[in-house]
């Protein structure tokens, strides 16, 4: 009896504590895989964002082998033009926060701070939405452009002879901007607030912002456009409640924490504006736990956004694309613009993800592949 107990304890202490294999991008990988060790640290973290990030990396079923290799072999040049290698950096990390920072570096370099994001690579064609015929909607955070406002203020005094007349006029709007590059600053909020308060100044301001953004986003790209379908959003567009701006952003999985006083504009686009392609986003585009991969084998083209208020019956669709010209966008000066006000009413990331998972279960458990995937994800700490 004692011997059996000893053997059991031995096995428990040695073999039982070790993980011999884990899923990485939904493929079974052993300990030799270069992402195995960093992912295990992330998954065991006490931080909910690190765990959520790890869960996404482990189970996202739409990362091709080629993109996985691109991630593993990723190198970038730092300010001193020295090459840095992601794997080497990951191996030197001491904690989950550092690992997450380096993986986010990949997302930033490959998909956000670039005019040619990786998701447009032909190897990602399986994530391309081909059947979509609906109008699309972008929840645009106006105060998020504070860095652009600073840029515009500087550019307003440069030689503008090569710029269009529209740009030259628009840029003057920002020549007295004083809020710095901090969207949270009281001065920055006041600057936007002043221009968004009345319909006439709002029209003028959005037109100027759009004209300047046309140039800024091409010269200094910092993220692709994220879209949902107008259909999924329609019932929330006409909300009159004070917290409608929060509702809009939560519906597409954007947190409004510390965003009180910031303005949101809904831009609507015809699907024809995205002739370059609309794609289902993956964790390597979002780089955050607020993203949740769509289950394997689901018959939907887009991703599904995590509703941070956990009230939507069906998650809103989500797509990413290269920015189209914002001049092609429609917006409603009255019902399509709102300020985020009041206290944040959003769930914790864990709760929102659990709820999202249960919604996915309700909707896709009849599809065998999706059901298997969902069962696997349920076993992970989402």
């Amino acid at each position: 009896m004692r011997l059996i107990e000893l053997i059991r304890n031995f096995l428990k202490n040695t073999l039982g504590r070790r993980t011999w294999a884990m899923r990485i991008f939904n493929r079974i990988r052993n300990r030799q895989h270069p992402l195995f060790a960093p992912l295990r640290i992330l998954a065991a973290s006490t931080d909910q964002h690190s765990r959520a990030f790890a869960c996404n990396l482990m189970h996202d079923p739409r990362i091709t082998y080629k993109q996985e290799q691109d991630l593993i072999g990723f190198e970038w040049k730092d300010d001193s033009q020295q090459k840095r290698n992601l794997l080497q950096c990951l191996n030197q990390c001491k904690n989950d926060a550092e690992i997450r920072d380096y993986l986010v570096q990949y997302c930033r370099h490959r998909n956000q701070l670039t005019a040619d994001p990786y998701f447009r690579d032909t190897s990602n064609d399986h994530n391309k939405a081909l059947e979509l015929r609906e109008r699309l909607l972008n929840v645009f955070m106006v105060n998020g452009l504070s860095t652009m406002f600073v840029w515009a203020r500087d550019v307003a005094h440069q030689d503008l002879s090569q710029r269009t007349l529209e740009f030259r006029d628009a840029i003057q709007m920002f020549s007295t901007y004083r809020g710095g590059a901090n969207p949270q600053s009281a001065r920055g909020k006041k600057f936007v607030d002043r221009r968004m308060q009345s319909s006439s100044s709002r029209m003028q301001f959005i037109a100027a912002m759009v004209a300047v953004y046309e140039v800024y986003r091409t010269e200094n790209p910092y993220h692709p456009i994220w879209l949902t379908t107008l259909h999924d959003f329609e019932s929330y567009r006409q909300l009159t409640a004070e917290d409608k701006a929060s509702r809009w952003t939560h519906l597409v999985g954007v947190s409004t924490e510390r965003k009180t006083g910031q303005w949101v504009v809904l831009f609507t686009f015809d699907v024809s504006c995205f002739s370059d392609g609309l794609y289902r986003p993956t964790i390597l585009e979002s780089g955050t736990g607020y993203h949740f991969p769509a289950p394997e084998g689901t018959p939907v083209e887009g991703g599904m956004a995590v509703d941070l208020q956990m009230e939507a019956d069906m998650p809103a669709a989500e797509y990413i694309a290269k920015w189209p010209s914002l001049k092609l966008a429609y917006f409603d000066l009255q019902s399509g613009c709102a300020k985020i006000e009041g206290t944040v009413l959003e769930s914790s990331l864990q709760a929102a993800r659990q709820h999202h998972l249960s919604k996915l279960n309700q909707n896709f458990r009849n599809i065998p592949t999706a059901a298997r995937w969902l069962r696997r994800v349920e076993k992970t700490q989402v």
């Binding site: 964002h49 730092d78 300010d79 001193s80 840095r84 550092e98 920072d101 930033r108 956000q112 955070m141 452009l145 504070s146 860095t147 600073v150 840029w151 203020r153 307003a156 005094h157 006029d169 003057q172 709007m173 020549s175 007295t176 004083r178 710095g180 590059a181 901090n182 969207p183 949270q184 600053s185 600057f191 002043r194 221009r195 100044s201 100027a208 800024y216 010269e219 200094n220 910092y222 993220h223 954007v254 947190s255 924490e257 510390r258 736990g289 607020y290 956990m310 009230e311 944040v344 959003e346 769930s347 914790s348 864990q350 709760a351 929102a352 659990q354 709820h355 349920e378 076993k379 989402v382």
Partner: protein
């Protein structure tokens, strides 16, 4: 094992706020790790609250300081250390542009001239290699001289840079800092001590010149006036007076008030100037001898100026009348 999290009941916020837990963690971290090491990491964009991709490290840190004033001092001292390192060329980072961008804006947001002024001034005055190439370094399209100027403007310990700001207002950029009229205006507003009305009036005049071609100039100019009032809320501003004294552009009169409507000048049979007060001192009527009507174009601006100056004081009306008499004596002598 499946990890279960209780669901939120409708109408209640049950989630732990991401920012709050990050904020609390930074307070703990700077107790364990040298604050300058932590600060550098956050300013490089590492370990920030994962709430959006547009708020930079300095923005999150300034938010944290709002809630936790106890971390202000160690973080300010850490910023001083990083600034000193930079001025000696010893600041190393894999993402130096992002670090400096955030460090300067963080310093600007801290507004701690007692600690930050000298290290910032040293960077400028040494004209070190690092400072000289700031205009060549960019972060997200912005030359690093822009945040550096903001840091200097918000942390001025004395009037050393007053001339530099006035030059910028006159469209004479500094050799290292560059700078446009709006930068000069911000610099002037940031000068320590009570406001110098003449300087601020002159700065507003230069801003009016600069905004001349802007299609949004009226709103923008009103905004500038708001900035002045917000910066010196205790001061009793009389922008109508400043507009006359500092010779602002005509279109600004509509915005601050037409002096002609406030100070009415009439001519009558009386031999001496007379003064009538309406609505306290908000409106003033001055009756001048009819003999002076032919010199109206020459004397009226001066009369208006004296009357506006008088409007702002608590002096008795004889003071105004004696000044006007003095003005006319000079005129008669001529």
């Amino acid at each position: 094992m499946i990890w279960q999290v209780p669901y939120r009941q409708a109408g209640f916020m049950t989630g732990t706020l991401v920012f709050n837990s990050w904020r609390d963690r930074i307070a703990v971290e700077i107790g364990h790790t040298p604050p300058e090491v932590c600060l550098q990491r956050w300013l490089e964009g590492k370990s920030l609250p994962p709430l959006d991709n547009y708020t930079e490290g300095h923005g999150w840190l300034l938010e944290a300081i709002k809630d936790l004033p106890t971390v202000r001092k160690p973080l300010t001292e850490a910023a001083v250390q990083l600034l000193r390192l930079f001025s000696h060329g010893g600041l190393k980072s894999y993402d130096l542009n992002r670090l400096l961008f955030n460090l300067f804006y963080f310093s600007a947001g801290l507004r701690q001239p007692d600690l930050l002024w000298l290290p910032l001034l040293r960077i400028l005055e040494m004209g070190s290699v690092s400072a000289n190439d700031l205009h060549l370094r960019h972060y997200r399209g912005i030359a690093l001289t822009t945040p550096f100027r903001a840091a200097l403007a918000e942390n001025q310990g004395d009037a050393t840079l007053a001339k530099l700001w006035l030059d910028m207002l006159a469209k004479l950029p500094h050799k290292i800092l560059g700078g446009m009229p709006m930068d000069g205006f911000e610099g002037v507003l940031g000068l320590p001590g009570p406001p110098d009305e003449d300087v601020i009036g002159w700065s507003l005049a230069r801003m009016a010149d600069d905004l001349e071609k802007s299609p949004f100039r009226k709103d923008q100019f009103l905004e500038l006036i708001d900035y002045v009032e917000a910066r010196f809320p205790q001061h009793n501003w009389d922008f109508i007076f400043l507009s006359i004294v500092c010779e602002w552009k005509g279109w600004t009169q509509e915005l601050v008030g037409d002096p002609a409507k406030v100070i009415k000048i009439e001519y009558g049979s009386n031999q001496e100037p007379e003064y009538v007060e309406e609505e306290g001192r908000r409106k003033i009527r001055i009756r001048l001898p009819e003999s002076l009507v032919r010199y109206a174009d020459e004397i009226e601006p001066n009369v208006r100026r004296i009357a506006l100056d008088f409007r702002r004081t608590q002096l008795p009306q004889r003071h105004l009348l004696s000044q006007l008499r003095h003005l006319f004596k000079k005129r008669r002598r001529h």
